[in-house]
Structures are given as C-alpha cells and as structure tokens.
Amino acid sequence: MVDRVTSVACVWVEAFAAAAAERAEPRLREQPMAVVVGVAPTTRIVDANAAAREHGVRSGIAEAEAVARCPHLVRRPASTACVDAAHRALLDACYGVSPRLEDVVPGLVHVDVAGLGRLVGDATAAADRLHRAARSIGLPARVGVAGTRAAARIAARAGLGVVASGGEAEALASVSVNAVEWPDQISEALSRWGVATLGELAALPRAGLAARLGPAGLTAHDLACGVDDPTPWRSWTLPPFWEEAQELDWEIHELGPLMGVLGRVVERLMARLCAAYLVADALELRVALAGGGHHARTLALACPMDAARPVLTLLEHELGARPPQGAVTAVAVQASAIPRGAVSARLGHTAPPAERDLATVLAHLVTLVGPDAVGAVALADSHRPDAFVAARLDPEAVSATSDVPLDPVLALRRLRPPRRVRVVVDGDQRPSMVSGALAPDARVLGCAGPWRVSGEWWDAGVWGRDEWDVALSDGAVCRLARDLRSGEWYLDGVYD
C-alpha cells in the first residue's frame, strides 16, 4: 500500500560531486572547478560547479575539452569519501527539520513536511528552513514543495519554490522540458515533436504516447502532470547507535570488579543486538579514568557474534594485557553491528561457513598443502579418465537433487599418477597375473573388460586405452588400463 504524503519538499543539490568537493575545500567556490574521473588521457568530467558550467563545462565531456573551454579550470579527482560525507550531512540536516525523509540519490532528498505547521510554519517556511539547514552544512540546495514527489522534484529543479497542493499540473505547465532529465528515447522524441514545455507534454493524449513510446511515455506524461509513480515512500532513518555505558558511584582499581560492571554493560548491549537481529563485528571499549583521562581499546572480533560471554573473555584478556593507567570511573562499550548473515534463508538448509571463518581456514590450509591442493573441483568436459578442473567452492549453489541417485555406486580410489604394472595375459588376451600392484605378484581371480575409451584423436593429445576391472588373489579389486599407444599396463585405482 502506498504511503500518502500530502506535502513533500524536495531538497536538491545540483552537481552534487562538485558541491561535495567545494564543501571539503571552500575556496574552490570562487573559481571554475570540475570533478574528474579516469586515467589520463581518458579522464572525463563528472560534475562541474556553477562557475565552470558558465564556461560550457558539462558532465561527461573529456577533461581536455573542458580545459579547452575553460583554461583556468581547477580539477579535482572524484572522491567517494567526500561525496559520502556530504550525502550523510545533507540527510542529517534534513532530519533536523522533519523526521520523515526519503533518500533518493546523493544530493536528492524528499522530506515530508506535512504536519510541521505549528512547529516550523507553512510550506514556504519549511522550504526556507530546509534551504538554511543545507546551507549551514556547506551545500547549496534548491528546495521545492508540492503535493507530490514528482512535482516537488521539478519545482526544485526549476526554482518554482512552493507549488500549491492540487495545482501541480498548472504550476508545471510553463516549465521547460529541459528541466527534467529524460531518458534518451524520450528527449529525442520531445525534440522531434517540438514539445518545449511540460504543459505541452501533459496536453498530449496518453494513449498516443503509450502507443509511440511505451511505458516510458506514460511515465513522462505522469511526470509532466506532476503525478507520482506508484513507488512507495521508503523512509530513511538514522543509523542506530549501538553503545551501552555505565557511570560508577565509586572508583574501581582492580580488574575483577571492573569485569563485573563490564559484564552487565556487555549483556545489555548484546541483548539489544539480538533484538535487532544483528551481531557485533567489532567492539570499542572506552574507560573514563579518575584523573580525567581516557583509556580506549578496539577489539576486532574474529567472528561476528552476539554472545556476551566470549566478548567478556576477550575484554578481560585485553584489559589484563593493557590495564587502564588509573582508577576507573565510567565504562562504555560500543559495537559495530552487522546483519546476522550466518543463518540461511532456506528452511532446513544448514548454514554454510561464515566467509571470515572460511577465508581463515583456507589461508591456513594453503600454508599447509599449497594453493593448488585446496579447493573445490568440477569435472572437465572430456572423456579422459580423471579429468577435472579447479572450481569455486560455492556453499550457496543449488544442486539438481533430481539427478541424485538413490543407490550407492562403486567408488574408485585413484592412484595419482597411475602405477605401472606388469601383466601376463592368457590365450584370450585377458589378464591372468599382475605384478607390482598392491602385492608383488597376484593372480587374477576374475576380470571384466576390455572397456575401450579414447579421445582427442583430432589433436596432439590423442589417447586411448583398454580398461579392465580385476579381482586379485591378494584381495584387491582394481582397475587396470592398457595404453593403446605404448602397450603399457597401469594400475588406475582400487575399488573401495
């Protein structure tokens, strides 16, 4: 069911990557600046600030072209950290105005401003509050308010400000179609048809648009009318703060009493994580000391967990090895929480090893036996005996259980490499005596074969052999193979 939002503000920061760079380096606002990505000479412009855009620097053009258009252009490499910080700061700023937000993309936030009348004022006051909040964190935002998200977005981009609820179509009618980022197919069609404003687009018959442009045409028509798509409102909430703390009435000098206090703190924290279906990946312990100082330790857990006892043991070891330099007056434990991922979503499916555990074990095994001797395998696409290739261990792979046979099959224990043996054959050219297999000499009590296999006759790797299953007098049941090219006999394996 779609959440009904009656008054929506859209906070939009144009050229967000450039705005984030300016926020980190404010002096860049005074000069043409562009954010670039890629390796020279193929670097391209990601975003440019207003001064650079005045010189014709646009997103997507090559850096060389941008410099040609604006010789004094300052370039900065794209920084994910910078953009992430600005993104989070914008959300925090909007959260200060209304607790109901929708994080659309970095630099575009929908804010539900319905019901803020007594707290903030009317829609104009709310827009003004949002604008000031964004400016206070160093981001030049444009704000549009309307009854729908689509209309609010266009109002923000076109600088319309507040659009009366219910009058979206009329308010947007004069806006140029260039104020909206259309898919290529739509923008080409609008250009071809000579449609210049959203009002002209809204006046086109829906059936005709659907016939010519398909679903994209209907979406464009809705947008021109200021009608929202049926996507539900996805509220953004502040990331929770997983910390438990305890102040002490008296100072603690020894580890034993301190662990008692820490035990209660950790149990509370782990109970919160359990309730939220999370596990702790790392812990930060902060201890306030009587002299005003602090003692802080970070514990990276070998395995994400939500059990208090092992965490307490780790903390005890840590504090025992590096005790606080003074009496303790307060403790706080903060957890870095991650979703509990060990439990499979499939009913009855055993949880596979956690990635961290598996990586650790594989690293140890590689040290023990070498990288080529550890891993999963798959059968090679060949009839050559013992042909297999390395494959990725995939605990989540879904097997075709319908192909699983119900009866046991003969299992061969292979000798790698196959052992060369001497075989005496009888008058029917069937093996009668084998020397050099498991025992020095063994009579053949029963044998089956030959089973001729060959392959790759079209290539240099041609091979061919006759296979025999033999039961020997020493009790072994083996597979022998006679190489058709060399005539040599080999012990291929032993049946288990």
Partner: protein
C-alpha cells in the same frame, strides 16, 4: 564415505574432504550424487601429519556439516588424547568428523566406529568374459557405539549389521 558426502551435500550443506593420498575420484563422486561445488577437497600428497593438521583446522570451523579424513592404506597414529581433543573441537563447532582408513584411527575417541568388509563381487556381461564390474556387496559392522554395547563378538546376529549392494 561417498554416501555420507552425498547425503550432506545434497541437503545443501558444505563438506570437506582431507585426502591423505589424493585418492578421491571426482567422477565416482558425481556418479554417487555428491555436489562437488559444496565439497572442499584438500590433497595432502601422502603427508599424514599435514592431513592431521588439516582435519584439526577444519573440525574447528563452524559451517562445515561434515569433515572427512581419508587416511588411506596407512592411517596415521592418533593418540587417544588427540582424538578426544578433536572430538571436543568438532562438537563445539557443530561439525561431524568422519575418519576413513584401513584400520581404526580414533580408537575410544570415536563416537561410532564401523567396519566395512567386502563380501562378494558381481560381474556384468557374458559369464565367461564379463565386460564390467557391476557391483560389490559389503558387510557393515558397528565396532563401537558410544552409550551402546560393542557387537564385535556377535557378528552373525549383530542388530546393527546390514548389507548392501553397490552398483
């Protein structure tokens, strides 16, 4: 061993095989229904000590439903203390450990010990000149079962004894 691996991997769980001699045949395993993508194969090149170290590592890794040590023709010597430590580690991690060898490896440290003995062979094709080994019947006898009695002394009427044909 393949039956256990098939049972585990066909249920969607992950298994590991420590192969002391590198004798595992993937083709036989696929015919038996083992999902190779969920089987970690560790080849130890005949080094018994390395195989023991590997099984010790894997038995402590939660998430593996079954860890198999195929000790081959000459199983390594495992002290009783080491066997009990391995059992405790596997129990804590929730891992089942299966040791396969020509003779008993874990002794009293095993929760269940089973002896499998070949009984008869069946050949396919003409009677005088069969073309393929068709099957093998084996007898399974429970040698030790924790909490139960040892049935070694009563082979004929042992209640845990059963026989199957492989084909």
């Amino acid at each position: 061993m393949l039956a256990c691996l098939r049972e585990i991997t066909s249920r969607g769980a992950t298994a590991a095989l420590v192969d002391a001699d590198g004798a595992f045949d993937p083709a036989s395993a696929v015919r038996a229904g083992v999902a190779l993508s969920r089987l970690l194969w560790v080849r130890c090149g005949g080094r018994r000590a390395v195989a023991l170290a590997a099984i010790d590592l894997l038995a402590r890794c939660p998430g593996f439903a079954l860890v198999v040590l195929d000790a081959g023709e000459t199983p390594p010597g495992v002290t009783l203390g080491a066997a009990f430590r391995l059992r405790q580690a596997a129990r804590r991690a929730g891992v089942a450990v299966l040791l396969v060898g020509r003779r008993r490896v874990a002794g009293a440290g095993a929760t269940l010990a089973v002896r499998i003995r070949r009984d008869a062979l069946a050949w396919a094709g003409a009677r005088r000149a069969p073309t393929r080994l068709a099957g093998m019947s084996t007898r399974v006898r429970i040698v030790r079962r924790q909490g139960g009695s040892c049935e070694w002394s009563t082979p004929a009427e042992a209640p845990g004894e059963r026989q199957w044909w492989t084909a």
